[in-house]
């Protein structure tokens, strides 16, 4: 019996790693992989069936490494299990078509949502699950620990220390999980330098560095041109500020990116000021660096902003506002998606976002037929965390009863116009997500935010205070009362709606003291990208695609 215990090896992972590293000794110069050898090196380091974490982030893409991965000989390396925050580039899906990869656990698909849905239907990808970001990072430490990490950084020094700067995102989380269970960490950098501005990730966590031919791909995903904000969006923003932010004293928050929330950000210095709310609301933010927040920052509304990632064009502005943003000793920002998602889960009063479809119970989804977009961070921020214990005015304000054992709730707000462009109703009988689940063989329908987490819904018709509903039926009625001339909305009578208003479950603009015709674009603190630049004193440098001068 004693012999069996002696023969088991407890270092199989370590031994495997050592063997892999040895196999590439001839192709590498210490921890440096020469650019030309990248495919050959990956082919030796990666074993078939490995779990591979590839960045695949939201803003940042390890594009050099992903393109190299797509060139592997599928005979040598196949059946990989990919772990990715975001499927953003064509080669992220090419690797499945080529047989290099087989299984996928991810969070968000965005631009590749159409092809993704098609490939799943065709059986070319085996989806483990669609996650929310933080959930995926959590599993890196449980059952999805990567054998290989393919990540991107700005700079490395000779010792493999990394500088990831404003675009740090989830790189530290991925590397930590990989490095500390004997996985192999391979980093592409824009350049190798003698001295780093600061150390974001220590070299002892890093196995290999390759200086890529081009900087890693970076997209400006959180810039919204104020020119595109409509009067309806301004109306809804005014209602939100008055009927939710002011009423419940929302001090800390996250804005899901979109024109609706951009309108709120741009109304703080004007409409918000006229309500006397400066200093009382919107002080602490978990937020990507939205350029549309600049006027509020400059006007003194914002105490702090922690960011998930960076935003192209905002670097200089952020570096000049270290009182507000999280910046290192070198002066540049440090973002961190994992921590920011944690902040968005436990430490904010409110999450607000938009959606493409909502059913009568307030369940919402952006997944529509033929497109599998996934979730991103919304499910994490758009839910009420049962583990929260600390009270804030807003959280406590959600308490409706008066029993001794109580807890507050995070405000989860969905803001949406009743119809999308082309007269498509947002309120539907049943979410497309249900059918998509069948087609993609998913175990559950991919709902982004569940109705029972939603505390408020805002449409151009008014606000439904769902958290106040005493029954499922009452909740449905409140939603119908603000569903306008959609099929759902036509179901409810004036009388029913007035009763709901009386009970405080529904508020129309007039109930909030908001005049519809006051919703004008002149109320926006900045009406164009150019004006944002002026607000920033020229520090904000928008990427070319947002410039019109």
């Amino acid at each position: 019996m004693a012999n069996i215990q002696e023969t088991r090896s407890w270092t199989t992972r370590r031994d495997h790693k050592r063997k892999q590293l040895k196999s590439v000794a001839e192709l590498t110069k210490g921890r440096i992989i020469p650019m030309a050898n990248i495919v050959a090196v990956l082919e030796k380091l990666i074993a078939s069936g490995d779990k591979v974490a590839l960045e695949g982030n939201n803003q940042k893409q390890a594009s050099f490494l992903s393109m190299a991965l797509a060139e592997l000989d599928a005979v040598k390396v196949h059946g990989l299990h990919m772990i990715m925050s975001a499927i953003a580039r064509p080669e992220h899906l090419d690797i499945f078509e080529k047989g290099i990869a087989q299984k996928l656990d991810f969070s968000f698909a965005g631009a590749q949502s159409l092809r993704m849905a098609q490939m799943i239907e065709d059986g070319l990808i085996e989806v483990g699950a669609i996650h929310t970001y933080l959930e995926l990072y959590a599993r890196l430490f449980v059952d999805l620990t990567p054998n290989i990490a393919l990540v991107a950084a700005d700079k490395a020094d000779a010792n493999g220390n990394l500088y990831t700067g404003p675009n740090t995102e989830e790189t530290p989380a991925i590397i930590e999980a990989t490095a500390f269970r004997d996985g192999i960490v391979i980093v592409q950098v824009n350049e190798i330098v003698d001295e780093l501005p600061r150390v974001d990730i220590p070299g002892s966590w890093v196995d290999f560095v390759v200086e890529a031919d081009k900087p890693y791909q970076l997209e400006a995903l959180f810039t919204r041109d104020p020119r595109s904000i409509t009067e309806i969006q301004i109306l809804m923003a005014m209602m939100t500020l008055r009927g939710i932010y002011e009423r419940h004293e929302v001090i800390s928050l996250n804005h899901g990116v979109g024109f609706n929330t951009a309108a709120i950000e741009l109304l703080l210095p004007t409409y918000g000021k006229s309500l006397g709310l400066k200093g009382k609301i919107c002080r602490n933010w978990a937020l990507n660096p939205h350029p549309t927040l600049i006027p509020a920052i400059e006007s003194g509304w914002v105490e702090s902003v922690h960011c998930f990632g960076g935003e192209v064009g905002m670097e200089k502005y952020i570096a000049a506002r270290p009182d507000v943003f999280f910046t290192g000793r070198d002066g540049s920002m440090r973002s961190n998606r994992a921590f920011c998602q944690m902040a968005g889960q436990y430490a904010v009063d409110l999450f607000i976002g938009s959606t493409l479809q909502m059913d009568a119970d307030g369940n919402s989804s952006t997944v529509t037929l033929g497109r599998l977009a996934g979730f991103g961070g919304a499910p994490n921020m758009g839910h009420d965390p049962g583990g929260r214990r600390h009270g804030t005015p807003a959280w406590l304000n959600m308490i409706t009863g008066d029993s001794a054992i109580q807890r507050g709730k995070k405000l989860v707000v969905q803001v949406v116009e009743t119809f999308q462009q082309g007269n498509k109703s947002v309120f539907v009988e049943s979410l497309d997500a249900i059918e998509v689940a069948h087609a993609a063989k998913l175990p559950i329908a991919p709902v982004m935010i569940y109705g029972d987490d939603v505390t408020h819904v805002v449409t151009e018709e008014g606000i439904a205070y769902l958290y106040k509903a005493r029954s499922l039926d009452e909740r449905r009625e409140a939603l119908a009362a603000i569903a306008g001339v959609t099929t759902l909305g036509m179901d409810i009578s004036h009388k029913q709606r007035d009763a709901l208003r009386e009970n405080g479950l529904v508020a129309l603009p007039e109930d909030l003291g908001v005049k519809r015709t006051e919703a004008k674009r002149s109320l926006l603190a900045a009406k164009s990208i150019d004006e944002l630049v002026a607000w920033s004193g020229g520090l904000y440098t928008p990427p070319a695609k947002f410039r019109s001068w």
């Binding site: 009067e231 007269n423 519809r516």
Partner: protein
């Protein structure tokens, strides 16, 4: 393009005519004129087949604003929310003292 007509009985007389909006993408223009007797609404809309939605929008509008008006709408694909917004704006402009000639 579809042309739709709606009729209502109203009681309130409007002080003056009003024009709001622009026939641009996702927008509409509204010409509002006082009427003597009954209200007539004529809508020319870019997208066909949404008669019932327009009916509901107009029903709701006249239920709240019991006016006698001749209304002409040239719509280039505005959402119902936008349509209601412009109708309200037109009424407001009509009542605005400063606009009186």
């Amino acid at each position: 393009m579809e042309t739709l007509t709606f009729n209502y009985k109203g009681t309130k007389k409007l002080p003056q005519r009003a024009h709001v909006g622009v026939v641009g993408s996702g927008d509409l223009e509204v010409l509002l004129e006082p009427a003597e007797d009954v209200s007539e609404v004529v809508v020319r809309t870019r997208f066909d087949g949404y008669g019932p939605i327009w009916q509901e929008i107009m029903d709701r509008f006249f239920a709240v604003h019991d006016i006698k008006a001749k209304i002409e709408i040239n719509d280039f694909g505005a959402t119902p929310g936008m349509v209601s917004m412009r109708l309200l704006q037109a009424v407001e402009v009509s009542y605005d003292e400063q606009n009186e000639k």
